[in-house]
């Protein structure tokens, strides 16, 4: 596709359930980022993938959060045993460059609501 695609665009789940959020980056982009944005807040870094290197997981808030990037392309962010404080918009971005040295292309985000 022409841009970064995220799915689902909206997800409502019950506390304690697991959720998976998907990101399709722009073809050829080696860098992929996940961010979390709570209402009225900035972008909180979660995890960064670069090529075949080990991901930078330093932003993951707890061990309930994990992410994979298969084949250097599609990425899935998994939140286990969701809590109400996990409610936020989860944004994915991709880039040709490494470690935020170039323009990030963002998807529209996945809005997660935990009841």
């Amino acid at each position: 596709g022409a841009g970064v695609s995220q799915s689902p665009s909206n997800k409502v789940t019950e506390k304690g359930k697991d959720v998976e959020l998907r990101c399709d980056p722009i073809s050829g982009h080696t860098a992929l980022y996940w961010y979390r944005q709570s209402l009225g807040q900035g972008l909180e870094f979660l995890i960064y993938f670069q090529g075949n290197s080990a991901p930078d997981k330093s932003g993951l808030p707890s061990d309930r959060f994990s992410a994979e990037r298969t084949g250097g392309s599609v990425s899935t962010l998994t939140i286990q045993r969701t809590q109400q404080e996990d409610s936020a918009v989860y944004l994915c971005a991709s880039s040709l460059r490494t470690k935020n040295t170039g323009e990030l292309f963002f998807g529209e985000g996945s809005r997660l609501t935990v009841l």
């Binding site: 970064v4 980022y33 961010y35 009225g40 807040q41 900035g42 972008l43 909180e44 870094f45 960064y48 930078d56 932003g59 944004l91 971005a93 470690k99 935020n100 040295t101 323009e103 990030l104 292309f105 963002f106 998807g107 529209e108 985000g109």
Partner: protein
């Protein structure tokens, strides 16, 4: 610690006036900066970038100024339009988190 922050969380501007959004950074080693715009319900979009070997860079209706002495950059929007209403973020290279942004509201 390192931080990238915006001076004001909100800015209200009369349509047609110029807007100035400010950002301070603390890492003197930062050499690349980007401004993003986020409209309601959308992901952030690139506006303009600047490298540390420049003091000023102009785009279409936007100008970014970089003052390395005081570690400050600003985004100027000329003749602000209703479509400029959004949240604006500054970002610096190698720092992966963004600040809270400045919400710009354009008054008709």
């Amino acid at each position: 610690g390192e931080s990238v922050g915006l001076h004001l969380p909100t800015l209200s501007v009369q349509e047609g006036d110029n807007s100035i959004i400010n950002c301070a950074y603390s890492n003197s080693a930062s050499d690349y900066f980007i401004w993003y715009k986020q409209e309601s319900g959308k992901g952030p979009q690139f506006i303009i970038d600047i490298r540390s070997n420049m003091d000023k860079r102009q785009g279409q209706r936007v100008t970014v100024l970089l003052n390395k002495t005081v570690k400050h950059l600003s985004l100027q929007i000329a003749a602000t339009q209703p479509g400029d209403s959004a949240v604006y973020f500054c970002a610096e290279n190698y720092k992966l988190s963004f600040g809270a942004g400045t919400t710009v509201t354009v008054r008709a």
